[in-house]
Amino acid sequence: MIVLAYILLILAGAFLLYMTFRTNDRRYIYLAVAFYVIFPVVLTMQLPIDISPESQQLYDAIAALPDSSAVMLTFDYYASTLAETEPMSRAVLHHMFKKNCRVVTMTTIPLGGPSISERVTRDLAEEYGKEYGVDYVNLGYKANYVAVLKGMGSSIKAIYPADNSGTPLDEIPLMAEIKNYDDLDFICVIADNGVVEYWMSIVNAQYGIKIGSGVTAVMAPKIYAYVGSGQMTGLLGGMKGAADYEKLVGKPDAAIKGMAAQSLVHLFIIFAVIVGNVIYIVERRRGKGRV
């Protein structure tokens, strides 16, 4: 039955592509992409996932931390990129809680960051029986990320006098042990914007603390250069990176479920690009001038 569904899907994709080139209407492409996304999600199809070396490097870095290490996890992303970034945050936080790390979360993004970090940390803390204020703290949002990143090197309390719920940091036991970057063993930055580079150029370069990251696929090619130079310890690139980490921590979730659709759409786009170029070349040779 599933095989038949996929044969129909391939035929439908070919027909819609034919209609696109025949009518020059890009909406047929949208329809084809919608088919290729919806079907694998509905049929919960899964394809094998090979772990990329950069994802493995991040996993190894966190796995190598001693138990009860103090770590920071940032939620530097907007709600619009949740599909890529939230699975990363969840998978990394699973690993941190499994390792009994003491986790400090924060965000430099106002639209989404504070509420997402609150939701994700509370969800997972409940699963692992972690206590707020003792095992983890959510500092929330603070404006002007450059000042925030620089300032936390001297004193986290000076930048965040209170946590995300307004509780003064003096009343939170965990924050009595974590004064600044010197008290942290690792920082994992999950971001959908350029702030990840400031974490590297300000915090890693000036304070020497190891930083790993998870970024949206759009940003990944740029960040690879920092992994290659050793400035970044591991990288999760887009949904594939999130799926890698879900597999590594043994918590298959949204990213792994989405990878089949991702692969099918990629195949369709590759096919469309090849067919489009062949048609373009053939028509140009015929001298029709129509693309």
């Binding site: 919806i38 370069a205 990944a220 050793g230 949904m239």
Partner: protein, 213 residues
Amino acid sequence: MSFVEHLQIWIAAFFMLSLFSFLYKDNPFYKLAEHIFAGLSAGYYIGLVWHAVILQTMINPMIQDGKWWLFIPGLLGVMMFSRFFKGFHWISRYSLAFVMGNTAGIFLLSELHGKVIPQVQATMRSVDPSQGFGGLLLSVIIITGVISTLLYFYFSKEHKGLLGGVAKLGIWFIMVSFGAHFGYTVMARISLLIGQVQFLIFDWGGSIQQIFF
């Protein structure tokens, strides 16, 4: 699922479908969703900045801890608004001068120390015969790419002869880089679509099932 949770999911699904409807053509539902998003974002941002910045880092420390000197950055912030008043807009230049000087000082160090020097160092150190033939080949490709791309952006001499050939090679490297970026961009956009489809099928679909079946 509570009534409020159902309501939240239905509102999210309505606005999501309204925005998707633009793919067919522009329509009032898309416009409505777009305008509500813009208004909500502005309102949320103002509330957040008031609470997390103005209250927490200025007003509360001034009143509770006696840090009276915080009125200086506060004043600099207020001075920025003078741009809206003709004849007084020059006052904002003092605030801008402070911001620009501060930013230049911070970024001069971080860009040089955190990006330029480590990247140059890593490129110089990449040739290591001990990493085997494959590693060595990659290092040669990296160094060739860096040099040819840099030479492509060297405009003090006409791109002819050897310089022209190397610059052309630089264009090839840049094109490959654009291709990689485009591939990743496709992956990113499709990921976002997958996320929305998962929401519509599992969350909204689950809500429909609970309410109607």
